[in-house]
């Protein structure tokens, strides 16, 4: 059963240096506040996993929390590139960043395998691309019935997955809706999970399109209203498109970034 705790407690207890950590969210419901708490608590050597690492991953990388990134699309959606991510890859600043690079279909299937207790998933993908030449976690597999050649990717089983959802009840059952991405799979694939929510309520009244994660499938729930900002939580907040646009300027320059980090996260 999920415990209801503060975000600081959840990160202290459940995220350790060296962990493989997935903060998932597909444009919607990105657990930004949890990412900032990880920065504040000074975690190091993390293997960060996410299909769409965006601003909060740029911040984690720039803050020196990450040793490796497992991903399929790293950008500032609707704006452009991630400058801290680029600086780490191109110039090893503030530290070298190892990459394990997939496509979205590959990452999604890796989470599905992880959630399913399987060591790998089968898909049609990567054929003819250069990705298998730089990523060792892509292998061919043959159908035992037809002889057809397909692609296998290994399960992702993060040490801890962090997501943001709209609501939880007091028993720790989690409810989210709208674009729900790959968050259910990421939580079920993980050894531990932290869910920040807009609010903890007495009842989870049903919502069309809802995904419910039962309390017994979650480790910790923390109430953090606005915890997805500048991303959004459908029914609670709108996407702060200006923040995404402004991030481009803040993140281009190391000094500007470090000033931002000190002022916006560390103090």
């Amino acid at each position: 059963m999920a415990e209801i705790v503060t975000l600081a407690e959840a990160v202290t207890e459940l995220v350790s240096d060296g962990d493989q950590v997935a903060l998932e969210g597909f444009t919607h419901l990105i657990p930004v506040a949890a990412g900032h708490e990880i920065i504040r608590q000074g975690r190091r050597d993390l293997t960060l996993v996410r299909m769409t690492p965006d601003i909060v991953y740029d911040q984690l990388i720039g803050a020196g929390c990450a040793r490796k990134l497992v991903f399929s699309w790293g950008g500032n959606p609707g704006v452009g590139s991630l400058h801290r991510f680029r600086d780490a890859v191109q110039n090893a600043w503030p530290a070298p960043l190892e990459l394990e690079e997939h496509s979205h279909a590959g990452m999604a299937n890796r989470y599905v395998a992880g959630a399913s207790g399987l060591p790998f998933a089968v898909m049609r993908g990567y054929t003819g691309t250069d990705l298998p030449s730089v990523t060792t976690t892509i292998k061919p597999i043959t159908c035992p019935f037809t002889g057809e050649r397909l692609t296998a990717v290994p399960a992702i089983n993060p040490d801890v997955t962090v997501i943001h959802a709209q609501r939880a009840d007091r028993a720790g059952n989690v409810q989210m809706w709208g674009l729900v991405g790959v968050q259910k799979e990421a939580v079920l694939a993980a050894g531990r999970s932290i869910v920040t929510v807009e609010e903890v309520t007495d009842e989870l009244s049903p919502v069309a399109g809802q995904v419910v994660l039962p309390s017994w499938a979650v480790t910790a729930v923390a109430e953090v209203a606005g915890g997805a900002h500048p991303s959004y939580a459908q029914g609670y907040s709108d996407r702060d498109n200006t923040y995404y646009q402004e991030w481009d300027a803040i993140s281009r320059d190391r000094a500007t970034f470090e000033k931002w980090l000190t002022e916006a996260v560390l103090t």
């Binding site: 919607h28 790293g74 959606p77 496509s103 979205h104 250069d130 995904v211 996407r239």
Partner: protein
């Protein structure tokens, strides 16, 4: 986005970017389904749906099937997509149940680099993979969109930097190393059948699968297109001229983007 404004008789002034979006939108047939890649394609696909193709089904990798946004989403995961979609599904389902089996008519992609066979690079430019000159965002959904959709349209701003003889990294396969390569690789879809840039329109040669310039946009010369192409460009024996954006198209496009210098999807 800014660009040189072009005036054509009987048509409103438009930028090269606007011409590109309008030409790309026109390529989408009504009643078909389109997997909308991140970037320029979203502008064009939404323009098509608001114009000649009201029954175009837009599929976003964020899980929105049949989205009908009334304004242009800034990202492929805006709330307006879920709110207006016929169905909202999880990301694994989008790729496994909807894209992978070849249900989608058109994959609509952009590119950082594109080569003469329509192969796409959105991974790294220059240097090598471990020490790249420029690190780009990466693959996203594109490799499997390019593989599995019945056909692929690519919309990209053209220059010698983006139109290269050979992409530095094959993120998504177009026609590989030429005709027959997709079949040899076992890729189910037909691959890129049209490339739309801010200068013109290209289609693969049926014999060689190499991109051929078939149309220039109003005010653009074949020579200009050659100069913005990083290989010796094949040109159709008769190069047509794209019909300039109509007033209606421009009005609809600007309503979506917020004006000639507006945002893109």
């Amino acid at each position: 986005m800014t660009g040189t404004s072009v005036e054509t008789s009987g048509h409103a002034a438009h930028t090269a970017s606007e011409m590109m979006s309008v030409a790309a939108a026109r390529a989408l047939r009504d009643g078909t389904s389109c997997f909308v890649g991140i970037g320029l394609p979203s502008t064009a696909a939404n323009l098509a749906r608001r114009g000649h193709a009201p029954n175009l089904t837009l599929i976003y990798e964020s899980g929105a099937l049949g989205a009908r946004p009334d304004s242009l989403p800034l990202s492929i995961g805006d709330g307006i997509l879920a709110e207006t979609a016929d169905a909202v599904v999880g990301v694994p389902e989008v790729f496994n149940y909807w894209l992978q089996p070849g249900r989608i008519d058109v994959g609509f992609l952009s590119a950082a680099q594109l080569d003469r066979f329509g192969n796409i690079n959105t991974t790294v430019i220059g240097g090598d993979y471990a020490n790249p000159g420029v690190r780009l965002p990466g693959a996203g959904g594109a490799p499997e969109i390019a593989a599995s959709c019945r056909e692929v349209f690519i919309v990209v701003k053209q220059s010698r930097r983006s139109f290269v003889d050979k992409v530095d990294f094959v993120t998504s396969v177009g026609h590989g190393s030429g005709a027959g390569d997709r079949a040899r690789l076992g890729l189910p879809g037909a691959g890129p059948t049209m490339v739309i840039t801010d200068l013109g329109v290209f289609r693969p040669d049926p014999g060689t699968a190499e991109l051929v310039l078939e149309q220039v946009h109003p005010g653009v010369t074949v020579q200009q297109v050659r100069e913005a192409t990083g290989w010796e460009l094949a040109v159709a024996s008769e190069v047509g001229t794209t019909t300039a954006p109509t007033a209606g198209e421009l009005t609809a496009l600007r309503a979506l983007t917020g004006g000639p210098d507006g945002k893109e999807g």
